[in-house]
Amino acid sequence: MSGGTTKDGTAGGTPGNGAASTNLDAAPVTPEVVQAHGLTEDEYDEIRRLLGREPSLTELGVFSVMWSEHCSYKSSRRHLKHFPTQGARVIHGPGENAGVMDIGDGLAVVFKIESHNHPSFIEPYQGAATGVGGILRDVFTMGARPIASLNSLRFGDVRHPKTPYLVNGVVGGIGGYGNCIGVPTVGGDIYFDECYDANILVNAFTLGLVERDRIFTGKASGAGNPVVYVGSKTGRDGVHGATMASESFSEGSEQRRPTVQVGDPFTEKLLLEACLELMKTDAIVGIQDMGAAGLTSSAVEMAGRGGSGVELELSHVPLREQGMTPYEILLSESQERMLLVARPESVEQLQAIFQRWDLDAVVVGRVIDEPVFRVLSEGREVAAIPVAALTDAAPTYDRPAARPARQDEVQRLDEAALPQPENMNRVLEQLLESPNIASREWVYRQYDHYVRSNTVVAPGGDAAVVRIKGTSRGLALTVDCNGRFCYLDPHLGGMAAVAEAARNLACVGATPLGLTDCLNFGNPEKEEVMWQFSQAILGMREACLALDIPVVSGNVSFYNETEGVSIHPTPTVAMVGLLEDVERIARPWFKEEGDLVVLLGSNRGELGGSEYLKVVHDRVAGRPPAMDLTLERGVQRTCRAAVEAGLLSSAHDVSEGGLAVALAEACFGDPGIGAVIDVEPEGRPDVLLFGESQSRIVVSLKKQDYARLQELASTENTSCEVIGRVGGTRLVIGNMVRARVDHLKNLWSTALERCVK
């Protein structure tokens, strides 16, 4: 899956007729058929103009998937241009199957995040599993060995009757696929909000490692070179795109098949090993996985990148079912398949490798000079379309965007009018038990996070850390987005997503390399959604520029709405950082009795968009915390320098739940340890304790090291203040909070399981 927009997974519109027996190629292309393919009248006219004739039904199917939001980025393309994509370490930015960045020592990392939202709502286990399978292929198709995965999940309210079922299915599916293929799931995030009740988000990320001079791309070049199909056989799964319900097509012989593909991690494991073995040779010139839009998009995109054409003979394609039409073969989204362009003399060597792994490897076509996508079936031409008509000529839209009138209303928050809770201990308990703050262990315990024996910091920290074997270095990984902030102010929310991810990396001591994004939004045909989309991107851009972080890959998922109600805009950011010395890192947990507790950054008394407002006052309102990118940069640089200098016993980002929750979490190490914090509210205690001001990190360190930390902070113009001391068995915050750590930890560690099991 190289591209992506729409309700991911199944690309574009394909009519709901698998009707195997009839000759679909001969069926007439009526206006209803065009509409059923999700193409507008104007788009159809353009197709006729590009071809100089009427398309056949098969050709119409090809256009519909290639011009779908998913493959063409038609609504998002002009906005995505705002992302900074350059950087000294960028080897391949957006446009390839995944982003590639240089990490020195002759090595590069390959990473990308992608959505599988809609399939996961329909069939949570398989939807999530195939999401993991798809992103893994995007990474190993470039020659990289996948070494770490993350996932970012959004579910509806935990009290919604469907939520536990969806959570169990999705978590099971991610584990079922990832565990079986032997790639550790080292981190992720998971949040619950009623805006996702009928539209969950499942975003999967994988990172791979490759030698710098062994990177492969999805390019078809060299006329006459054979095109080889490898992996699973092709079935009808995915042909009945979820989007389609054309009445003219659904009558009669309609055979209902699941629109969600079924994953087979075992076959993918074989495919992974066989491909990596093949890539040690010089047998191939290009390779691409078959994701959304299957054989069609992989062949067309490879031809597009190579400036060539491709001719396919469908009768050679290994089929799982009998009687499949060219239309179905071209549009099938069966999993665990790849398309290769080989050197003619290497086909035998290639086939021997795949045979060793018991996989099909069949020559199904060849590269041609003429820049045309030509498809034959038993020698009969069933499609012939100029490649450029499917790629460069795909329409793009400048969809209207407008700030919704209600935005002022949702940003209004009269703090003085909020009733003030009497017992801050009780509020802290409530927050620690919120499914958005409680320990995620119930989730990540179901994922293998140790396989490949590289995991230095397992899930549960601010960022995961994996070592790079054969070097002293490590990689830090995190995924973040506060959808509530983005709803209240998409520009600020976009900035915050990037800033928080970078801050999480700083907490472990890593320098950000780059990011990949998964932009989950509602219907782009609505002005309000396009406004959210464009604003979020501009916010992200601003933070990327300020923090010097390029965007190297990404994915857009639109149409995340149900019954006209959109999800909160959720531009998920997955960020990768580099550690020069993987043994010199910080973890979130207080360690030593007597250590000083220090706050980097400052408490600014902002309640807007906080988890506290939601949990205690049932409000999603206000302006999200302000973002001062200069301060953010200073805080991050200070923390990173302090970790590198070995000054810190712990470092933990302040996020959902504010300062009080961050302090409590810092007490929850193994074994837990208390702290006495000496802060006084200038105004309301709830604002100080639970407000979610940005750019704050709680660190702990030995008293004698504090002067050095101060020096580092002053170099960065960053405030750095002792707020307390580690020790005891209680968390005490001024005269506001006083609670036993074991009691708090017990609430926090069991809450999520109680909600969703």
Binding site: G172, C180, P265, F266, R445, D448, K469
Partner: protein, 234 residues
């Protein structure tokens, strides 16, 4: 001294074992491809974790029929040291080299976490460098790790000192809370009667370097190295 690490389609932890033996312990290691006959010339064999043949039938059930496994069974029969980790343990049970079976975790969920293991018996080539009662810490990660055997077999295992490792808490107590999968009698690893075949669900290869959180998995591999060295007189 020479080691063989079996590689089945779907093996996942083979690289981890290779890394541990080769790079951490400096051993001479070769992979044993499932389609090839067992080559001989090995002093020790490891069956690594993973999902051999996809584990679609029953964990470890297919691997026993592979050509390499036939040879490994003979190797074990002649006294060769065989270590089965996780899926390797399941394969050893399916092959009849170890008694009992590994069934779905009591939670019915995959479980990945660090556990403590109490060394129950050090009179084996796999635990000889450990003290009885010593605690080892390493991860488990499996969906089917619940050891089951009938009461008579469990008694025999105990009587013969074949239970080498049990799940315990940080204080060394075997308890239900410390048992990650509902295994009978908290059993984490057993050897055969002849004490040359050992299967365990936890992953010692993932606990052999301080940077990864601990080195107590080395006890198992170093014990084997020590045994082989003594046996070969080198």
């Amino acid at each position: 001294m020479r080691w063989g690490v079996a590689v089945f389609p779907g093996s996942c932890d083979d690289d981890d074992v290779l890394h541990c033996l080769r790079n951490v312990l400096g051993q001479d290691v070769r992979t044993l491809w499932h389609k090839d006959p067992f080559p001989g010339g090995c002093d020790g064999v490891v069956l690594p974790g993973g999902f051999s043949y996809g584990d679609y039938l029953r964990a470890g059930a297919m691997a026993r029929f592979s050509p390499v496994m036939q040879g490994i069974v003979d190797f074990a029969g002649s006294g060769g040291l065989v270590l089965g980790i996780c899926n390797g343990f399941q394969i050893l049970c399916e092959s009849g080299l170890l008694p009992g079976a590994l069934t779905r975790n009591a939670s019915l969920r995959f479980v990945c976490r660090r556990v403590y293991l109490r060394v129950e018996d050090n009179r084996s080539p796999f635990t000889r460098l450990a003290e009885p009662g010593e605690l080892l810490e390493m991860p488990v990660k499996h969906g089917e790790g619940r050891y089951y055997a009938n009461p008579a077999t469990l008694k025999q295992l105990d009587d013969n000192g074949q239970v080498l490792l049990r799940y315990a808490d940080a204080a060394g107590e075997v308890s239900e809370e410390a048992n990650p999968n509902g295994s009978a009698d908290g059993i984490a690893g057993i050897c055969n009667r002849a004490r040359n075949v050992f299967g365990l669900m936890p992953h010692p290869e993932d606990a052999t370097e301080a940077v990864l959180g601990g080195e107590s998995g080395l006890k198992i591999f170093s014990s084997m190295v020590d045994e082989i060295r003594r046996g070969s007189g080198s």
